[in-house]
């Protein structure tokens, strides 16, 4: 929980990891991958938040507990597993690894699973076992993950449809999707979110949370977000722009609020790439300039911030929010006038 100027904010960190990318658990691609993460970390963090590379490769449970819950204002954090076993032999961070902390602190974490449609019928059975074992309500899918000769898959693949049908059957209702730079076929745009659009239309009972708000294809994400009411935007990777690239961040949030509205955006740190403490503080401090190029953006009220920082995610995951932190009690933000829906040009 974060409190500022008489306003209280329930915080759900929608995207965290406890990874192992140390030298004994990576090949050259894994090394390239974690170096890439580290450059993001170094480039977008305030100076005092930059870790030494060794710590970034592999940090401890204590680091995580401290940075999220002791100093980071987080009430509940959602583990988004990323297996990447082609790059990290023991996995980058798997559901089973995340489950260790979930068992120790059941109220602090939400555990998500994952599936890979390229694993066929056997994979489907394993997925069902994983869901039963941990009572999962969500999955994180990384469509650009390599497997043998394959570089990635699409949510609209017939094999993926079978897995999504299974999600409906098992009550796994939150589908987090992360696009990456390599996807078959390699001559197409790997970041294209058209497959999410198709899946969201076909599965209206599932929620599709597009991680990183579709970056680097913000415009394509906004486009599908307007069409599909069950598409959400996860703000991991977008959040830290608030520090070094505030103008861009403010514009991006303005665009997202304009096209998707305040009920479909979820705060996330992507810990340990970034830490929630400074992200939460800077976000609560942020004001939308009401002039110049910002003038057709809605105001960033405490109520909107409360929704983005935690209440939207709490709704998706049925997280119990203490009475005094619910929308109607946590502050006295001004009434928000919603913008009329805008039809996109065709």
């Amino acid at each position: 929980m974060y409190e500022k100027d008489g306003e209280k904010y329930f915080v759900v960190d929608g995207h965290i990891h406890l990874w192992d990318a140390g030298p004994d658990n990576r090949n050259k691609y894994g090394e390239g991958f974690i170096n890439c993460f580290y450059d993001y970390h170094k480039n977008l963090s305030p100076e005092e938040w930059v870790w030494p590379k060794e710590k970034f490769d592999k940090y401890s449970e204590e680091d995580l507990m401290h940075d999220l819950f002791e100093t980071g204002y987080v009430d509940v954090a959602i583990f988004q597993p990323t297996y990447l076993t082609e790059f990290f032999p023991h996995g980058f961070n798997t559901t089973d690894q995340d489950a260790v902390l979930k068992e120790k602190y059941p109220d602090k974490f939400i555990l998500n699973g994952s599936f890979d449609p390229r694993e066929g019928v056997q994979g489907l059975e394993r997925f069902e076992e994983l869901v039963d074992k941990y009572n999962l309500k969500g999955v994180k899918l990384y469509t650009a993950e390599w497997k043998g000769d394959s570089k990635g898959w699409k949510l609209s693949d017939p094999s993926a449809t079978k897995y999504l049908e299974k999600c409906v059957e098992l009550g796994v209702k939150n589908i987090h999707v992360h696009k990456g730079p390599t996807i078959w076929p390699l001559n197409r745009d790997a970041f294209d979110v058209a497959d999410v659009d198709e899946a969201a239309s076909n599965f209206p009972d599932l929620n599709f949370i597009v991680e990183h708000v579709g970056l680097p294809r913000l415009e394509d994400f906004c486009w599908i977000g307007v069409q599909e009411p069950n598409v959400y935007g996860g703000l991991a990777v977008a959040m830290p722009f608030i520090h070094t690239r505030r103008h861009y961040f403010t514009t991006m949030i303005g665009e997202l609020l304009y096209w998707l509205g305040e009920d479909r955006l979820l705060f996330a740190s992507d810990y340990a790439i970034w830490s929630p403490k400074w992200l939460v503080e800077e976000f609560v401090n942020l004001e939308m300039p009401q002039s110049g190029e910002f003038e057709d953006f809605s105001e960033l009220t405490p109520e909107i911030k409360r929704k983005i920082l935690g209440l939207n995610a709490a709704k998706l995951y049925d997280i119990e929010v203490p009475e005094d932190l619910q929308l109607e009690h946590a502050g006295t933000g001004p009434e928000v006038t919603e913008k009329p829906a805008v039809d996109l040009p065709t």
Partner: protein, 232 residues
Amino acid sequence: MTVDAARVQDALSDVRDPELDEPITELGFVSGLEIKGEAVHIRLRLPTYFCAPNFAYLMVADAREAILSLPGVRWANVILDDHYASGEINGGINEGQGFDGAFPGETEGPNLGELRSIFQRKSFVSRQEKLCRALLAGGRTPAELARMQVGDLPPTDETEKYLERRADLGLDVSPGATLVVDPDGRKVPEEAVVEHLRFARTVRVSIEGNAGLCRDLLATRYGLGEKEEVKR
């Protein structure tokens, strides 16, 4: 005719990152240039090890073609450094295999033409928005924009950039052609101009945001010291 570095640089400045819509020379992607008689050697670098291989390939291929088009150049060798697919890309281009040949079994359908076209269309939309924004700031109304023709445009940098991309898409750039059109060249009706530009703005914000991030990541990756070095 001897080849000089300035002309090579100039040729490379016509090569753009298709996704970021900026010259590779301004983005800091050209890290080495060496001329030996009739042979030109270029080294390129990108912001991350996992930058999308298709865009990387296009830039390496375009750079090679730009240099080979210079009089006096007989051989051009363009090497992409520090990328997960450096081997495939460098081999594919300098041995003339094409993208399909460089990544056998990993592509489908037309080579990279379609990908390039998608991003040229985005670039067109973004450049049109920039131009129209400047016109609106100068006192024009959306209704006036809807009636404007290419021949009415002031001779500015925005106009030039817009018309260049408009021509790339094969659209009419003659003075009597309608100014506000979609990427297929269809006139945007007066009542739809505001909405058309509203979404175009999101496209522009996205491209500019990505370009800014890529500049910063490149600076971080290669320790370019002051980030300003690779900023405009």
